[in-house]
Each structure stands twice: as C-alpha cells, then as structure tokens.
C-alpha cells in the first residue's frame, strides 16, 4: 500500500511538473506580455524604455531561464502578483478555492443521495418503465449543454417565476439565509447536470451485482427486497461509484467553471476564465495548476478507495505488455 501510494504520488508529481512547464510555455504564447500591455496603456513609454523594462523583469531571457526563476520563487511560496486584482496571487485564489468547494460539496452530496437509491431501483427493475425513464433522464443529463441548462433555470425560476435570484453572490451585507437563497439555483443546476453520470454508473454497478450468485442465494433464502438491496447489492455497488466520484473532481471543476461564470460566483473556475481573458498570467498559471493538482489528487484518492473498500484488489499495476 505505502509503496503503491509512493509510486502514484511520484507519477502524479511528474505529470504535474510537465503540466507546470507546458502551462508556463502556453502562458507565454498568449497575446501581449505584461510590458506590451504597459506600453499600450502608456504612450509616453518609448521602445527603448520597454526593452529596458523587459530586461529588468527578465522577459528577454530564454523560456527555460524564466521558467526556472518562476519555479524557484514559487517553491518559496511567492507566486507573484495578480494584474487584475492587484493582490498577491495566493490571496486572490485562496478564498476562491473555498468558494468553489462551497458550491461543489453540496452538489456531490446531493448527487449521491439522489443517484444511489434511483440507480438501485432502476437496476432491480431493469428494462421496466422506471428504468427506462431513469435511463432517458441520465442520457438527457449528459447531452444537455450545461450553460444553456443554467440559462433555462434562470429563465424559469428567476425571470418567469421570480422565486430565486439569478446570481449566486448576494450584495456584501447580506445575511446567511440570503447567501443560502442565492446558492439554491446554482447548486440545483449543477446537481441536475452531475447526477446523470453517477446514476449511470450506480445502475450499471448494481445490475452487475444483482447477477452474482450470492444475490441469488440470498433471494432463495427468502431475504426481503429492502434487505437484499441495502445489505447485499448496495455495499458492492458502491465501489465503482466511489471511484467515479473521486474521478469526477476534474469534470466538476469544468462544470463549476461554467456555472460560476453564468451565476457570477467568485470561485476558481470563473477566476481562471477571467484571468485568461484579462491576460493575468500569474493568476491564470496558479489557478490552472491548482485545478490540475486537485484532479490528480482525486485520481489517487479513487485508487486508494478502491483498495480500501475491496481488499481483493491489489494495488499493483497489472503488467499487460510483454
């Protein structure tokens, strides 16, 4: 277990390092570097001034040198300043990461609470009308453009019915209840979008478990329907679901990016988007890295859960080649 963890961490570390370098390189390819932007906004600066400034900030150095400088500073905890916010990058990102988690946690919990019983029932009554409806609904869930669905929710509940606010963030002096009221629409939207994936996996896993011999034995012994589902099927079907939940961290980040942008929620996704559009390289860089690191961590977590929940699975990579 420890050896497995160490190898996975090392592997993810290597991927992260390559991603860091590629991202740094990509950021350098975005339109206009900081000095160009300065020159644009200040006509008094001559090309000579610009060249001197570039030398001062090391922007005339080759990419490897610049990357090394950035990395050594970053490792000391200095990620530079955000151009858009005029604050150190970390101070901008930290509260936004918390905001994203505030959005994501209820979504994951609600999705599980909805997907587990529905998936179990759908599998138990496989190919019946209930299963058919659930299947159709989850197909719709993975096919709907998330931003459009969010807009429809706004049209329905904010514009037409006027029940809920159209933005996620209330004005500054709002109380807790007001905050929660603003969060209902984005959380509901993201949950509906997310639940289809969980549901499909829960159904497939339950269906597979229901075909096992021990389920037939339990049924033959006269176990009640409820007990069969909760004690025999659920526990075994949860395994793939846990993996999917851990793996879905990455896609959830993508989902929250859209939802945060539409509902004006100051989270990680919206910050990454705004910083890329606003040429805020320092911020975009660290924001993207944070999203990547979270996703990689989710993947490791998925493997670990797998090993912990099912002792039969050995955490060794199966050698397939040869």
């Amino acid at each position: 277990m420890a050896a497995f963890l160490a190898r996975r961490l090392a592997q993810s570390g290597l991927i992260l390092f390559i991603v860091i370098f590629l991202t740094y390189w990509l950021m350098g390819l975005m339109p206009g570097d900081p000095i160009d932007l300065m020159v644009q906004s200040n006509p008094d600066l001559t090309p000579a001034d610009a060249a001197r400034l570039k030398a001062l900030y090391g922007l005339d150095q080759p990419i490897i040198t610049r990357f090394w400088n950035w990395l050594t500073q970053a490792l000391q905890g200095d990620f530079g300043y955000s151009r858009l916010f005029g604050q150190p990058v970390w101070e901008v990102l930290w509260p936004r990461l918390v905001n994203t988690l505030i959005l994501m946690l209820p979504v994951v919990l609600l999705s599980i609470v909805i997907a587990v019983p529905l998936g179990l029932l759908a599998a138990r009554k496989a190919y019946g009308w209930f299963d058919y409806t659930v299947n159709l609904a989850s197909f719709a869930g993975i096919s709907v453009p998330p931003f459009w669905f969010a807009i429809l929710m706004i049209i329905g509940f904010a514009v037409t019915l006027n029940w809920l606010p159209a933005s996620a963030a209330p004005p500054g002096d709002a109380g807790l209840m007001d905050h929660l009221r603003h969060l209902i629409l984005p959380v509901a939207t993201l949950t509906i979008l997310n639940v289809g994936t969980y549901l499909r996996f829960m159904r497939a896993a339950s269906l597979q478990t229901l075909r096992q011999d021990y389920v037939r034995t339990a049924l033959a012994k006269g176990v009640s329907e409820t007990r069969l589902l909760t004690h025999h099927v659920l526990r075994n079907a949860l395994l793939p679901l846990v993996t999917i939940i851990a793996l879905s961290f990455g896609s959830l980040f993508s989902g929250t990016l859209i939802i945060e942008t539409i509902f004006a929620w100051p989270g990680m996704g919206k910050t990454i988007y705004d910083s890329v559009l606003g040429n805020d390289y320092n911020l975009a860089m660290v924001g993207f890295l944070l999203a990547t690191a979270t996703t990689l961590l989710g993947n490791i977590l998925a493997d670990l859960c797998y090993g912990l929940l099912d002792p039969r699975i050995e955490l060794e990579e199966v050698k397939l080649g040869g």
Binding site: L29, Y127, F139, P145, W148, I272
Partner: protein
C-alpha cells in the same frame, strides 16, 4: 498462401440492421441526424427560398417576435434567428464531425502502436493518455484557445483569416479528445495480437505495418465507430461551451454556441432567443449519443441485452 487462418474482419453480421432497428431511439436518432445534416447542407438554398440574408443586420427590427417573414423572430442585431440556426448548425456539425474523426485517427494510431508493440512505447503512451485524462478539461481548453497564433509563428494570412477560429477549435478539441479511442483500441489490439490469425500472418513474414492494417485494424473497427459517434456529441458540446465563453467560433460566423453569447443580457426581453440554439445543441448531442448506443448494441454482441 499455404496457411489461411481466418481473419474475422469487419463485423458483417447480416443481422446488423435488424439489430440496430430494434433500438427504436437509435433509429429515431439516425433520422434526426440525417435531417439536421440536410438542413445544414441546404441552408443557402433555404435562405434564397425565404428571400432573406442570414447575415444582414436590421437595427430597426431587433428582438422581433416570430412572424411570417422571420419564423423564429430576430436576434439583438435584427438578424433572422431561424436562418442563423441553420448556418450555426453547419459550423457546429462540421466541427463535431471533423474534430471527432481527427481525434479518432490520433487515438487509433496511438492505441495500435501501444497495444501491438507493448514494452516501453506502450508504457510511455499509456502514461501520456492517463496524464491527458487527468487534466481539467475546460480550463485546459480555455488556455489553449487563448494562445496567440502569431506568437506560434503562424503567418498573418492564416492567423487573421475568418476561418481561423474554426481551424483552431477543431485542432484543440482533437488534441484532447483522442484518449477514449486510444484506450479502447489498445485493449482490443492487445488481445488480438495473440490470436492465431495474427501469429500465422507474422509467421508468413508479413511486416508489422501490414499486419496492423490488414489484420488488426478491421477487427478494432467496431469500437472505433461507436466511440467516434459518441465523441461527435461530446465535441459539439465542447465547441458550444467554448463558443459561449467567446473562445470558440468568432462572430459574425454563427455557431450554436456563440449565438448564446449575449443572451444573458436579453433574458427579460426575449427569453426565446436563449432557448433555440441550446435546444438545437441538446437535440443534436442526444441524437449522436443514442446513435452511439444503438451502434454499440448492434456491433458488439457482448453489450447486447
């Protein structure tokens, strides 16, 4: 040839159509996809027939409700929504199909090499696949879409051209979309290369490229077809998201995604403006997903109910 171990080849079950037709939704989806493709194909003809110009702005007739002239009304610049939907469909379908095919091509090559040769190429390619899968997709696409083409050394004539945003989005989506096909093809190839007909072919002195093309590829075609169909739906979704975020297809070229760019400003005045393009995306994507599901049932006996 002396020894002729049979190569099962492409699945030519004569029951393919019968099997496919049993999946009613897939059949319906196929009809829908054909209809959408025809509408997109004949958009210019319909434009002439209606006597309208899809690109013509009419600022005196903004956000008009549906009428005999404008079947679905007009948008915020007074352009005909129905015609722009047709032209948007051209772009969205084209991006979806071309990017999915490119991604499938890339994935097939990577999967074949990894699965057939094994060893370090396999290790390297599969770790790379894992790495791409592990990246947060949308932030990555946003960063890629924001790259300045001139800094990549592309000449102005390409970078400034109207179609550049189209090429770019096709390229970046296929660059991240190949992983599913690569994994499927690798897994199939791995089991195929130990089969008798492959060993026999090798014993007869056939080279690796010939074995891959003649013996392996036809046998991995089914999963590729299924995965590519499902990828088309996903690509159309991704294109719409990026275009909605103003990083995909650039106006004035219409795509279903960028038609939703500004709708949030008009939700109170013309909510239907936001409904149509999204509905088109939704219907198209779900059609491709059902189509893929039906193809899987028909092509892969193991997945059959």
């Amino acid at each position: 040839m002396a020894v002729e171990y049979s190569n099962p080849g492409l699945p030519t079950h004569d029951g393919f159509w019968r099997q496919f037709a049993r999946h009613r939704l897939a059949l319906l989806a196929l009809a829908l996809v054909v209809l959408l493709a025809l509408l997109a194909l004949f958009a210019p003809a319909l434009e002439m027939l209606l006597g309208l110009d899809a690109g013509a702005a009419d600022l005196f007739n903004r956000l008009a409700p549906p009428s005999a002239d404008h079947w679905l009304g007009t948008d915020e610049a007074g352009r005909d929504v129905f015609l722009r939907l047709l032209y948007g469909g051209r772009v969205s379908l084209m991006v979806g199909i071309i990017a999915a095919l490119l991604a499938a091509l890339l994935g097939t090559m990577i999967g074949l090499i990894a699965g057939y040769f094994g060893g370090w190429p396999d290790g390297f390619l599969m770790r790379a696949t894992d790495a791409v899968i592990a990246l947060p997709l949308l932030p990555l696409l946003i960063v890629l879409a924001a790259v300045d083409p001139q800094k990549l050394g592309l000449p102005d004539s390409i970078a400034q051209s109207e179609l550049f945003s189209l090429y770019r989005i096709i390229l970046i989506i296929s660059l991240v979309g190949w992983t599913t096909v690569a994994r499927l093809v690798r897994a199939e190839t791995l089991s195929l290369r130990r089969r008798e007909f492959v060993i026999a072919a090798r014993a007869q002195g056939l080279g690796s490229p010939a074995i891959l093309c003649r013996h392996i590829l036809p046998n991995v075609a089914s999963p590729i077809v299924v995965a590519t169909t499902l990828t088309i739906g996903n690509v159309i979704l991704l294109e719409s998201v990026l275009s909605f975020l103003a990083l995909g297809i650039q106006p004035p070229t219409a795509s279903w995604g960028n038609m939703l760019n500004n709708v949030q400003d008009y939700l109170w005045d013309a909510p239907m403006l936001a409904v149509w393009p999204g509905l088109m995306i939704f219907v198209t994507v779900i059609a491709f997903n059902f189509l893929g599901d039906g193809l899987q049932d028909a092509l892969d006996p193991r997945a059959r109910r």
